[in-house]
Symmetry: D2
Subunit: 401 residues, 4 copies
Amino acid sequence: MDYVYGPGRNHLFVPGPVNIPEPVIRAMNRNNEDYRSPAVPALTKTLLEDVKKIFKTTTGTPFIIPTTGTGAWESALTNTLSPGDRIVSFLIGQFSLLWIDQQQRLGFNVDVVESDWGQGANLDVLASKLAEDRYHSIKAICIVHNETATGVTNNLATVRKLLDDYNHPALFLVDGVSSICALDFRMDEWGVDVALTGSQKALSMPTGMGFVCASPKALEAAKSARSVRVFFDWNDYLKFYKLGTYWPYTPSIQLLYGLRTALDLIFEEGLDNVIARHARLGKATRLAVEAWGLKNCTQKEEWYSDTVTAVLVPQYIDSAEVVKRGWKRYNLSLGLGLNKVAGKVFRIGHLGNLNELQLLGCLAGVEMVLRDVGYPVKLGSGVAAAAAFLSNTTPLIPSRI
Amino acid sequence: MDYVYGPGRNHLFVPGPVNIPEPVIRAMNRNNEDYRSPAVPALTKTLLEDVKKIFKTTTGTPFIIPTTGTGAWESALTNTLSPGDRIVSFLIGQFSLLWIDQQQRLGFNVDVVESDWGQGANLDVLASKLAEDRYHSIKAICIVHNETATGVTNNLATVRKLLDDYNHPALFLVDGVSSICALDFRMDEWGVDVALTGSQKALSMPTGMGFVCASPKALEAAKSARSVRVFFDWNDYLKFYKLGTYWPYTPSIQLLYGLRTALDLIFEEGLDNVIARHARLGKATRLAVEAWGLKNCTQKEEWYSDTVTAVLVPQYIDSAEVVKRGWKRYNLSLGLGLNKVAGKVFRIGHLGNLNELQLLGCLAGVEMVLRDVGYPVKLGSGVAAAAAFLSNTTPLIPSRI
Amino acid sequence: MDYVYGPGRNHLFVPGPVNIPEPVIRAMNRNNEDYRSPAVPALTKTLLEDVKKIFKTTTGTPFIIPTTGTGAWESALTNTLSPGDRIVSFLIGQFSLLWIDQQQRLGFNVDVVESDWGQGANLDVLASKLAEDRYHSIKAICIVHNETATGVTNNLATVRKLLDDYNHPALFLVDGVSSICALDFRMDEWGVDVALTGSQKALSMPTGMGFVCASPKALEAAKSARSVRVFFDWNDYLKFYKLGTYWPYTPSIQLLYGLRTALDLIFEEGLDNVIARHARLGKATRLAVEAWGLKNCTQKEEWYSDTVTAVLVPQYIDSAEVVKRGWKRYNLSLGLGLNKVAGKVFRIGHLGNLNELQLLGCLAGVEMVLRDVGYPVKLGSGVAAAAAFLSNTTPLIPSRI
Amino acid sequence: MDYVYGPGRNHLFVPGPVNIPEPVIRAMNRNNEDYRSPAVPALTKTLLEDVKKIFKTTTGTPFIIPTTGTGAWESALTNTLSPGDRIVSFLIGQFSLLWIDQQQRLGFNVDVVESDWGQGANLDVLASKLAEDRYHSIKAICIVHNETATGVTNNLATVRKLLDDYNHPALFLVDGVSSICALDFRMDEWGVDVALTGSQKALSMPTGMGFVCASPKALEAAKSARSVRVFFDWNDYLKFYKLGTYWPYTPSIQLLYGLRTALDLIFEEGLDNVIARHARLGKATRLAVEAWGLKNCTQKEEWYSDTVTAVLVPQYIDSAEVVKRGWKRYNLSLGLGLNKVAGKVFRIGHLGNLNELQLLGCLAGVEMVLRDVGYPVKLGSGVAAAAAFLSNTTPLIPSRI
């Protein structure tokens, strides 16, 4: 029943789906329930309130959609835009590429701003476009907060600032799939109009819930958006929100209870502490990469991602071999290089419910794998560099002091 | 953490989500995994092969979509049709109504054939329409195999026969949400072009998987269908099928393993035995209703559903009270009457992984509830009628002989 | 992996092990933990405090021993008595027989007071013995509160009264295996010196914890008791209680958390409500038996048990066939007749986390099985009798009002 | 519900209870069952057969007792010996001490052969005793295969050789609690008469099962052994083995299914591969300790344990601080020093279902903790030493080649 079982734990370091904490696994370990009984709306009400907190919004309206990140993208776009609408979108890696592909297939007129893979969104170009766009033909700016393929985090505050500077009314749509609950994200402060994430990322749950949060402006836009949508239509949700039953179609009972626990764990740790933990683990990973003498795919420090690190391997090595070898020998799951960077990078996902020693075990594994594939790494070097940093910065676990 | 806990088991008799067998709950009790490792495609391959069996097809192509039944509908429609296409659709209850609503919102020209709620699809009207449609303006026939709101099962073989009689090339699209894996359904034999169901119904899993199966003709139609779709686009799946990695976006690891076990249990019992069990439980339920002196919402025997029975209550009773009371006093979950039959019917779902004594416990509960709300039922009467039938027809459990 | 799987739920109506509520299953769904960390003592402390409540004692000292009921018996005896000690013990069925066998093998001088199986302990004989025993040669009275083999509940208050009337200092040792948490039991009020139960009975957990509670007098007796014991020695526990680490050897982490939840559920429902629920289900079962025209193995109403009903079958029927048939055809697990009543009775366990509709499903199953084995029962008759009682007495579920 | 939760996984490196593999957790995730149904004996039969394999015996008789290691000790002793019997027992650490304490309290005449904590059993003394004992007053040799407190593995083959050399008929009783399923153990080849272990050790299950395996000679001895026993009496088991029902009292259904899976995983990996894995992880740990400049509590290489390493800390450090700090800061659970070595050693348990990267994560954590408590360890040094060894010796995972 378990395909290709190996002894001991699987070391899951892909940038999603990520490790699920035991309390969440426990919470989901249950039979179905009637979702029309009073219990499910009571539970849902608390979830919707608390989901807003992870977006750092008080004015947004969250939608919890039984779908994946791809579906969440579609929900964000089709509810706010109409076919033919001009949008600006940044291509900086595989996931922004896929989103752009979706934008084009949904019939929008996409102004693609491309950067080298490993660079962040080119906001200078955005500035020019906004400056030129006096008649506000640009209806939306679509940007991936954290490009999972290259480990690049874009500066959303700057995007907001540009929109404000040019007094531009474009909607600000953000893919927060590998950022929300892990990186600093502030929906209200940054004036984000639609933000979205998926359950299997920093929320540390199974796949199956797309979280989409809409600002009042986005809800207003939804009223006139002419993109065809039914499954992803916010209106169906809003109708049931009013009725207090919340669900236009059957939710996953298991995921609802899982989400309740996932949120409880995050709030118990403290959302800002969770973000600080990601910053710590991200930095530790980068120090290890440096100690190994390898390069980060991310070209500048300002774009370094605290949820995923894409590591460039020397030309004589196929990074897919690194991933394959880790899995076959050490029960280690690393992320492949995708598309343009296939064979060139492997990725270490360090997001979600994770701690220092898990990461150090992974780094030790990467070292052994690198040696296996012919890279002359000094064993222990990355671990030492990461540990030196972590041993100075890791706080005591609050509940255990 | 458990909202409104009651002592003992919840008796779950809504027509979905239904009871999950313990082995399936167990199989899903796991951490996430890298879905790009060799394990997940190996597992997926067996699933896709076996899913075809529950549709009784050898030529169909199944898609397992991270969505609900509503999403599965959208997938069926948008992949095979173009905006403006004329389709014939039968309105016989709340779920066919919702599907028609979706069809209209997706931009099709829907020829609605309406029946009283409690009647099956009017196939005489279909015959006339097909007869008239010499130039084949009708692109698809959309029909719900089993209308969950009224407990009506339509005769799909007759639909096929009419299409054949008139040599009509319309696509034959079937909502099998509350039928597949429970009622006799034969995709290939009946020439169904797209059939669909959801995981939380007769497959007895959590919500989260929409199963859509496409005939070769449907796949061909997909090539020219101009409905906008991305998340639901079969092409993205087909591309990954070819690559042998299967998933265009992250599947739920837990549901994949759950599905493996759900299918194993069905095949161990034997799909035809599963269907026979549903026939037995359906008949037993109807005998109880008759013994109570109540009427079945379904107006003719030919439409009786073996997965859900909608029971009409006398005018002086509000059927919502029956449901409420069952839940509040006996931890019994019955289905509400929806829309036109709200207040008039309550529904007993008898689909999925269920056995005789579970049903009899439910029937005993309904009797007590009916008395609670003022209907002078003879306690034990329905149970006696059902048991008389079941005691003559229930086979020994094969593994225990 | 599941031996002899059947479709739908197993209907578990043996008088132990009993159904485990889902929240308890969930709580136990976890990895091991270091039992010497601060977490386990913190948890244990709450458990020991709360376990006293189910014994209704404030002065008793509870021991939670990794063993079964048989081990709990041994713990009760060896810690309070010395080889050769005279004890009075009542033989009224298979479990009292086994306890007496243990008492004899442990070297005590057992004064066996035997009754017909189906009768309660003969307390008149006890009275005579106490009256005669002027020099207090009797060191202990050993009595089973509820004899699980025959469904007989003994009157413990009377035993206490007799001891008081004769001012007799004998220890009062009670097997509460199938009573505590289900029947009215009052350790302090009745002056019980050692009471015991097992986790798989009314606490509705897996097997693995023996609960033994000792009065101050019992603890005092332990100081001079010369029975050889190590694993079952209370002193080892008391030593670790003082240290605040609680465990002389490794406890089951899973059962500790399971117990926490099991107790929480009992207190949430209210212990007295739990007991009232058992009274209700016991009475309903007896009404069904009467309606079937069958006799209760228990000969007088004063001894009727609210946790298990032993049903006498007519001579021409082998009760083992009833049990076998229930399991093979209806996934129903009933209790066998044991020893003297083998073939003559089958048992319906109605203890633990159970509700009305579960019981009615069971009763409906028993009716069908009785017919299968040739007894001309009127189908529905028992269910009707039970339901008539239950529909008048079942309260609303408090959390759902 | 989770006492003192910390983010990420707990790193469980106490020498028991150990990590439970997910498939075993899954297998135990279930309701109770009637243990008198045909299913449980069918399952038990396979378990008893397979348990013999982990003892490497074909002639032994296994008993699976609902107890802990302490209870298994008591079962081994009381079934084979009589009060007053002379036995030779080796005191080399806390667990052999506790067993000797039990032996004495059970009334045996214990000839204690003491060694320094950190040394193995003094077999020279055994040789002398056997040589002197011409009239065979010594009834049994009791020895701990692996002393968990000091990480010392005794040489059982030599014990056997001595018994053979002196043609001595003493029973050979072995505590294999922290060895069986992890270290090389050969019941038949070494002529062991009783061997025992517990479920929470190398079998990687929860606490709750004591495994005791008796040679034909031990079974013969049981016939005349006069130690008082009931709960631990093998005869009760043997009676039910003959009946084919196997259980004298209620087993834990959950642990039975858990054991089935635990054994399946061990046989899938291959018992000898499991042992080799332990050898590899043990050696890696010792190399790390050496690299840290610390001493192993085990004084000679011949006694090195592959399941637990007790690490001596410098005098100016309290080893309890190491353990405390690991738990409080890194969610790392290490073993405390016990009794004579309290404050002087901390222990790394490396037994059970564990792999290379888990161990390296632990070692990295120990390094950081050592620095925290003032020991000037070079971060990464132990990981590097361990990894250098592991990267040369870890095989590919067979199912993934």
